[in-house]
Structures are given as C-alpha cells and as structure tokens.
Amino acid sequence: MKLKLDKKDLGSFLQNLMDEYDLFAPVQLAEGVSVYKKIDHPGEVDLSTSNPQKPAKEVFFPQSETMFRYGKSGKQNEMVSTEEVIRERILFGARPCDIQAVSITDEVFLGKEYTDVYYLNKRKTTTIIGMACDHPLSTCFCSSTSGGPFLRKGSDLFFTDLGESFLVELLTEKGMAFLKNKFFKEANTKEISLAEGIEEKALKMTDASVPVEGIDKRLDLMVESPFWGRLHEKCIGCRVCTYLCPTCHCFDIMDETMTNGGQRVRNWDSCLSPLYSQETSGHNPRPTNRERTRQRIMHKFNYFPKNFGRAACVGCGRCILYCPVHFDIRQAINWTSAKRLKLQRGEHSTNP
C-alpha cells in the first residue's frame, strides 16, 4: 500500500512531528545557500535546492561537537559527558546520495573494535525521511557509485515529489511506525504511476559512465605515477571539496578553554590542509599539494575500498560544483582508466 501527503498538509505534518522529535531539514541561509539544521518551525524548511551545500552527515557527525566538559581543576570527577541524545530525531528531506553517504560513514564510526558513541547515539535515535531526486543535475553521477536518484536503501520513509503532493513509502520498521500518521492518505493509481514516470525519467538523467568500478585496482598501479604531479597543479588546497563532501570524515580534537573550565571539542578537518600531517619533529610526510591531493583521491578510491569493499564517493557532484578552480573528479577518475591503458602500453601521459 502506498501513501501520500498533500503538500498543503506538509507544514502541519512537520509541526506535528516536532511535538515528539527534533527535526533536521534543509534550511536556507542565503539565496542559493542551504544547510541541514534543526528547525524551530516548519516554515524554515527549504526543499527548493537539488542538494544543500553542506551534506546530511552533519546530522550525525556535526562540524563542531563537544565531547565532554571539564571544570577548572581539570580533575576527572568534574567531567561532564555530552554524548547522550535525549530526544528522538528526524532527518527530513535528504537526497539518496547523502543517505548512501551515511552508510559509508557508518563503516568508519560504528566499527567493531571501537564504537564512536556520539555518532551511534545520533544514528540510532534518528528516523530518516529520504526525498527522491526527481531532477538530478548534470554533475550528478550517483549511478556510477552504486547509487541512484531513487535509491531507497537507508531511508526509513521515502518521499517522491508529485507536484501537489508527495508519494510516501514506508520502508523499514521505523518507517512502519508512521503507518497511522493522521496526515497520510492512501495514494491512488494515478499518483503511483506518476511517481513511476518521474522515477524512470530521473534514472536516465544521472551519469552512469564514470569508471568508478574497479578504480581501486587501477590506482594500485599508480601510487608513484607522474600522474599526480600533473593532476594536483591547479588545486589550490582550498578544502571546499572535503568540507562539502558527504563521506569525508577526518576530524581534529582540541581542548577549548572557557570561563569555568573548558571542553574537549572535535571539528571537521581536511587532509588537504598543509599542516594536517605535520609532525612535532618538523617532518611532514605530505609536504606538498601533490601528496595531499594523492592522499584524498587514494583514500576515497583505493584505501577505503581495501578496508570496506566500496569507494567512499556517492557521486553527489558537490566537489565539482563548488571547486573554485573547476577541478572535476570525474575527469580524474576517467584518467585513471586512460592511464592504466597507457601504463600497460608503456607510455606515460604527462599532460592530461
């Protein structure tokens, strides 16, 4: 049975949810700029962009997060934990690429050996309402990364925008708990077939030709390739790609002093920062942009697959859209294909 939510009821639906849940949704900060934030009233929700600048991982892994507080004496008995999540949460309006990215950050944070309790607590208390991507951009290549604009995996509820209403699918046990929601009505056959048509159209729009498949094997042959020397040239190390990437998860831990003690905080960090791997002795294993760019690409497409069996990229295209020097990761991936062929033939391409 498929359900629907009339758009005129969206505000009330969200308000109703907010009585019980903390609601995280895309919010516009300026024209054309939106992020995921906890909303105070339904009017703040902005579903007009194809994808907010900052990814949905922020809901589980905030850019700045207090790990614990301590008193002035610095003694253990004055430490206050901050990992508890009191209220249940809903992530509303996330696209399938961002939701697929959450399954990638799950691999890192919910590991067998150590569990990141901050991430875990947020993850298990959050119900994800995914929003189908009915109009992907030309820079979207989710279909090349085992994803897609209508990928339902990872969502508890899945909405498709039909114009006047949303088609609602309840996919998991958490989702089924909404079966009796007073704003959901039964969808009719016309609405269901409209949704199918939108899905068919969207699936044709994303780029499935980027050779992400097998890239880890190709990169195995390229660790010391002159390829990196040319690839990194135009990159200015501005870090925008890592901060907007839904799967990047590097962070920095620092103690911040406050009036009555302080707090240990973790903040997102980027492997493209020059001082990222700087050691106290003065030695830096990644002294130039060449090594740092190589690290970023190898991590996403070689090291992560070695550890977890898939590339740490969901094809959302943010790095392509927001890079100030127009570095296009699709081209870099394409070149690994061409490069391998050339390496096999014994040629070296030095000017891609």
Partner: protein
C-alpha cells in the same frame, strides 16, 4: 556503552628528568580507580593517549613492561603544548589516559627465536618495555638470545641509565650501549649505531630484529641489517605519525589503507614495502 574518547584518571606517582638537556622526563602513573587498574592489560609496543584537560592529548609509547605491576611509565619529550604540560605536572596531579592502543610487538612470533633490539635516542621507550618483559623470570625462556644495541648522541642523553647499568651486568642478555660522542667520564663504546651493529654482527638465523629510532638512524642501519641477511618479514619497527583519536576514526594517521594507531604502530618491513611512502 563505553565512550572510547573519555580519558580515565591516573595520578602521577613519580616524575624525574631523564636527560642532561632536560628535554626528556619519565613519569610513573597509577590508576585512581581500582577497577580501571584491573581492566588494563597491555603488551609491549602499545601506546596510550595521555591527556591534560585544558591542554590536549598526545600519544606516548608505554615504557613500562606488563610485568611491572602497579604503575605505567612514560617518557615524554618536551616539544609542544601537551608535552610541556606533562613536564610540569607535579607528583599527585591527575593525568587522563586512554588505552592501551595499537597492536604492540608480535610477541607470539618471537617465541622460541632470538631477538635483536636496536634503539636510538628517545625512541627507546617501548623497547624498554619489550626488553623488561623478556627479562622477567616468567618470560625469559620464551625467547633464546637477546641482543640489545642502544645508542644516543651523548652520554647525558641516554635514557634509563640506572637500568642500563644493571642490564649490562646480566649474563642472559647482550647489551651494547654506544654514544655518537663521548665525554670525559664516558667509559663505554663510542660509535654510531649502524657501525656498532656491523661490529656486533649478530646472526640473522632464527632472529627477529626490532628497530626504533630517528629516521636518519634507520636510514643507515637498515642496509646493515640487509647485509646481515635479515629478511623484511623479520624486521619490525614502531612508526610515528601525527595522531589524534588513536582509534582509527579521525583519519589522520593513515599510511595507505592502514592506520598507524589501530593497525600499527608496529609494522614489519615486509608490510611497509607494500604501502605508499607516506611516513
């Protein structure tokens, strides 16, 4: 669920400056709570993240051996904010700890074999743990010959001087202490570690080598180990890399697909050969 980022409280039992240049200080810490002490089991080569609330956290190799009950020893090199803080903590002060972290030395592989330990400068900390472990009566039979070559730039910069004197007198271990430059009181060997290794010429047969030291020392010692026919699978080292979380989450300390904090810091050269030169 246990929060792996929360430091556990320890108290500074003893602290003393190790070296003449006052840059290295050894602190002995004991757990504040009995149950934490009981739950803490480690092997040589592992490290801990020591934390001073307000200053930060940093990783340090455990210098004491698991056979030395009651307290944990760390030798701190004064270099930045946290290490300066650890140089100033007085006896009785509280220090946080997270650990034990890392993989430690491959103690199982050493069973029934000879062990060659080569250390330089203040990288000797976890080597002390390894040696003290095997010198314990319960463990001495686990390995055959133990040869230790330890060098520092000058006599005043040697760590654990009193212990070295005791060890030199033992018959169940061959210890050669050397310095790059002697002083008027120094009666021991003078010579660079790679040259002393060549001189001592230990057999590589059935032997595992563990080498820890500054990059320059490793650079020149490694070819000597090659000349002595040590295969890469039997040469182990403990790597240093900038770390943050210590548990393989923050992404900072990776070498290829391995994390120095979780899959290391101890690696064999056979492993390192397959990884990018990212260290």
């Amino acid at each position: 669920m246990k929060n792996p980022y929360h430091p556990i409280p320890m108290v500074v039992k003893k602290a003393q400056v190790e070296t003449d240049d006052r840059m290295l200080r050894t602190i002995e810490l004991s757990f504040l709570n009995e149950e934490d002490a009981k739950a803490f089991h480690f092997i040589p080569g592992q490290f801990c993240e020591l934390s001073i609330l307000g200053k930060g956290e940093a990783p340090f190799g455990i210098a004491s051996s698991p056979t030395e009950d009651g307290s944990l020893k760390f030798t701190i090199n004064k270099a930045g904010v946290v290490t300066t803080g650890l140089h100033h903590v007085a006896e009785g002060a509280e220090v946080g700890i997270r650990g034990p972290l890392g993989n430690g030395y491959p103690m199982d592989l050493f069973q029934g074999k000879n062990v060659l330990v080569i250390g330089g400068g203040f990288a000797f900390t976890t080597l002390r743990s390894l040696i003290a472990y095997f010198l314990h009566p319960e463990n001495r039979n686990k390995v055959n010959d133990i040869t230790v070559i330890y060098g520092a730039r000058m006599p005043g910069l040697l760590l654990y001087k009193e212990e070295l004197l005791k060890w030199e007198k033992r018959s169940d271990l061959k210890l050669v202490v050397t310095v790059d430059w002697g002083d008027k009181d120094w009666k021991g060997k003078v010579g660079l570690v790679p040259n002393v290794l060549e001189e001592v010429g230990p057999s590589s047969e059935n032997t595992y080598a563990v080498i820890c030291g500054p990059p320059i020392m490793i650079k020149f010692t490694f070819p000597k180990l090659m000349a002595l026919r040590f295969p890469n699978e039997r040469i182990y080292t403990s790597l240093e890399k900038r770390m943050m979380c210590g548990i393989g989450k923050c992404g900072r300390c990776n070498i290829g697909h391995l994390y120095v904090c979780k899959d290391g810091p101890v690696f064999s050269y056979a492993q390192l050969e397959k990884l990018p030169k990212d260290y």
